[in-house]
C-alpha cells in the first residue's frame, strides 16, 4: 500500500511538473510571437468573387466562416492604409495597429555584408501592437524616435556585423542606399527574426524600395489574443483583406506543443495507472485474506455497503494522501524546475525552464488519479460486498 501511495504521489507531482513545463514553453512561445508579429496580420487585398466569408448564426451567436479561396483574386499589399486603419480602429477588441512596409536589403559595414529584411514602421504605433520595447537589449526606443535615420537591428545581425549602438551602417535597397545609425539592438528569441529583421522608419523604408504608396501590411494587437481567429474572420469579412490570426500562422508549432503535452500526460499517467494496478492487487489479496472476517461481519449485521465502504475508505484515504503529497511535491518540483538554468534560443528566448502555474494541471492530475484509484478500489470492494457468509462459513467448517 505504501508503494501505491508513493506511486500516486510521484504520478500526481510528475504530471503537474511536466504539464507546467510543456504548457509553460507553449505560453511563452505564444507570448513571444504575439509580441513580435502581433495577434493578427492583415496583408493582401482580395476580390471576393463568390462571397467567401459567410456569416453564420448558431444558437443566436454570429460566427464567421471563410469557406472557399479557389475563386478569389489577391492583390498584393494594402492600397489604402488610412481607410483600413480607421476601419480597424472601430473594432472594440483592437488595441494596437501598426502599418509595416516589408522588403529586403543588404546591410554593409566596412568589412562585412548581410542580407536583411527591413520593416518600415511608425514606432509609436508599432509599440502598441508589439513588445519591441521589451525586446530592446541595447540602445533605446527614444534613440530611434529622435533619429529619423535610425535603425533597430536584431542581435544576431549585430553579432555578425560587430555592430554596437550609435555605429554607422549602410543599407542598400532596391532603389536607394542610405547611411543609418544603430539606435538599438533587439532580441526576440526567435532566431529567424533576430538574424534577419531590422526596423527603420516607414518613410525611409519606402524610399529604399522606391515605393511611395501601397504594398504595406498591418500588424494588429488585440485585447483577447485567444479570440484572434474570430476577430480575423470578422476583419477579413469587413475589409476584404486577408487577415491571418496567430493561431493560423503558427499552427505547426502549436500542434507540436499540443502533441508534446498530450504525450507527456499519457506517459506520466502510466505511473498513476501502475499505482492503481498495485492498489488493485493489494485490495484483491486483502479481500481473499479477509473473506472469513467479512463473513463474520455480515453475520452480525453489517450490510454489503458497510463491507465495501471499509475498502473504499481505505482507497479514499490513500488517494487523499497521494493527492495532497503529489500536489505539494508538484508545487515544489515545478518551482525547482523553473530555477534550473537552461539557455534557450530558437523559437523563444529563455535562460531557464519556463513553467506555467495553471490550476487546471492539478485538476487533471487529481481526476486521473481518482479514476485509477477509484477503479482499483471499487472492483475489490464490490467483490467483498458480494461475499455470501453462509457459503464461506460452510466451507470453513
Amino acid at each position: 500500500m505504501l508503494m501505491s501511495l508513493s506511486g500516486i504521489i510521484f504520478g500526481v507531482s510528475f504530471f503537474v511538473i511536466t504539464q507546467a513545463q510543456t504548457s509553460g514553453f507553449q505560453e511563452y512561445f505564444i507570448k513571444t510571437i504575439l509580441g513580435t508579429n502581433g495577434a493578427i496580420r492583415i496583408s493582401d487585398r482580395f476580390q471576393d468573387m463568390e462571397g467567401t466569408v459567410r456569416k453564420l448564426s448558431q444558437n443566436g451567436n454570429n460566427i464567421y466562416k471563410f469557406q472557399d479561396r479557389e475563386s478569389t483574386k489577391y492583390v498584393e499589399g494594402i492600397d489604402y492604409p488610412d481607410k483600413i486603419r480607421n476601419a480597424l480602429a472601430a473594432i472594440p477588441s483592437v488595441n494596437g495597429i501598426s502599418e509595416i512596409f516589408e522588403d529586403n536589403a543588404i546591410l554593409l559595414t566596412k568589412s562585412k555584408r548581410q542580407s536583411i529584411q527591413f520593416h518600415g514602421i511608425k514606432i509609436l504605433n508599432h509599440l502598441l501592437a508589439s513588445d519591441l520595447k521589451a525586446q530592446i537589449v541595447q540602445g533605446s526606443i527614444s534613440n530611434f524616435l529622435s533619429d529619423k535615420m535610425g535603425i533597430i537591428i536584431g542581435n544576431r545581425i549585430a553579432e555578425r556585423l560587430n555592430l554596437k549602438v550609435n555605429d554607422r551602417v549602410n543599407i542598400v535597397g532596391k532603389l536607394e542606399n542610405f547611411q543609418l545609425r544603430v539606435s538599438g539592438i533587439f532580441e526576440s528569441g526567435i532566431s529567424d527574426i533576430d538574424k534577419k529583421r531590422c526596423y527603420i522608419s516607414l518613410p525611409t523604408a519606402r524610399s529604399l524600395s522606391g515605393k511611395r504608396f501601397g504594398g504595406s501590411i498591418f500588424q494588429v494587437g488585440i485585447t483577447a489574443p485567444e479570440k484572434a481567429p474570430q476577430i480575423a474572420a470578422q476583419i477579413q469579412g469587413t475589409i476584404s483583406h486577408r487577415a491571418v490570426s496567430w493561431q493560423e500562422r503558427e499552427k505547426v508549432w502549436l500542434d507540436v506543443f499540443k502533441a508534446l503535452r498530450i504525450s507527456s500526460a499519457i506517459t506520466v499517467s502510466s505511473i498513476l495507472l501502475l499505482s492503481g494496478l498495485g492498489m488493485f492487487n493489494v485490495f484483491a489479496i486483502m479481500v481473499i485474506e479477509k473473506t472469513r472476517d467479512i463473513s463474520i461481519l455480515r453475520s452480525i449485521g453489517f450490510t454489503r455497503a458497510d463491507i465495501s465502504s471499509v475498502f473504499l475508505w481505505q482507497g479514499v484515504i490513500v488517494l487523499f494522501l497521494g493527492i495532497i503529497g503529489g500536489i505539494i511535491c508538484g508545487v515544489l518540483g515545478t518551482y525547482i524546475v523553473s530555477k534550473i538554468p537552461m539557455k534557450i534560443r530558437g523559437i523563444l528566448k529563455s535562460d531557464s525552464f519556463v513553467v506555467n502555474w495553471d490550476y487546471t494541471h492539478y485538476i487533471w492530475a487529481i481526476l486521473i488519479a481518482s479514476v485509477f484509484v477509484g477503479l482499483a478500489t471499487w472492483i475489490p470492494a464490490r467483490r467483498a460486498a458480494k461475499i455470501e457468509p453462509a457459503k464461506i462459513i460452510r466451507e470453513t467448517l
Binding site: 472469513r292 472476517d293 463473513s295 463474520i296 461481519l297 455480515r298 453475520s299 452480525i300 449485521g301 453489517f302 450490510t303 454489503r304 458497510d306 455470501e388 457468509p389 453462509a390 457459503k391 462459513i393 460452510r394 470453513t396 467448517l397
Partner: protein, 232 residues
Amino acid sequence: MINENYPDQPLLRVQNLEHSFAIGEENIHALRGVSFEAKIREVTAIVGPSGCGKSTLLYLLGLLDRPDAGEIMFGNKSVSQASDQVRTELRNKNLGFVFQFHFLIKELTACENVSMPLFKAGIERKEAHKRARSVLEKLGLGDKTERFANKLSGGEQQRVAIARAMINSPSLLLADEPTGNLDSENSKKVFQLLLRFAREENTAVILVTHNPEIADKCDRILRMKDGQIVRN
C-alpha cells in the same frame, strides 16, 4: 424485541423449509420440508448425524442464506424472502450467532470483538466498550477484555463469541456446536451460560450439538436425519 409481550406465542415458526446447495458439481439437497416452532426462554437442541442438514437449517434461521421453498416467520413477519436490508437489520438487532469455531476477528481485542454489533447498531465507541466489558465480566472474562482474540484459550474465545452474540440482547440466539471444540468442563460452562441467557433475557436459544448430555438438558430436542426432522 420480537414477541416480548406475547411469551406464549412462538417467536419462530418454520414451515416446509427446503434448501439445496452445490459443492463442486454435486448438488446437495440439505433440507426436505422442515417445520417446527420455537418460543422465548426455551432452549432447543438440534441433533443428528453429520451431513443431516443441522448447520444448514441454522444458517437459514440466522438469515445467512435463503431457502429454496418454505417459510420462516419471526413473530408474525415472514423473513424468508425479505430484502437483504431487512435481513441484515434483523441479524444485527434480533439475532445472535455462535459458531463452532467462535469466528472472532483476531486483529481485535475481546472487547472490540464483542462491541462490533453495537458499533453497527450506531452506539458510540465508549458506550459500546463499556457494555462489552460488562458482558465479558459476567462471563468471567473481566481480566481479559483487552487481550487480542488469538491470545485467548479455546474456551475463552467461545465465551467471547457468546458475549458477542448476546450483546444486543437478541430474541433468538443460534449456536452451531458451541461446545464442539471444548473440554467437558468448558462445555458445561458454555451451556450454562446459554441456558441462563435464555431464561433471564427472554431469548429463544437453538443449538446444534453432537453432545447427548447437553441435548438432554435442553427444553426440547429436534432429531434430524437426511434433511428432515424425524423426532420433535
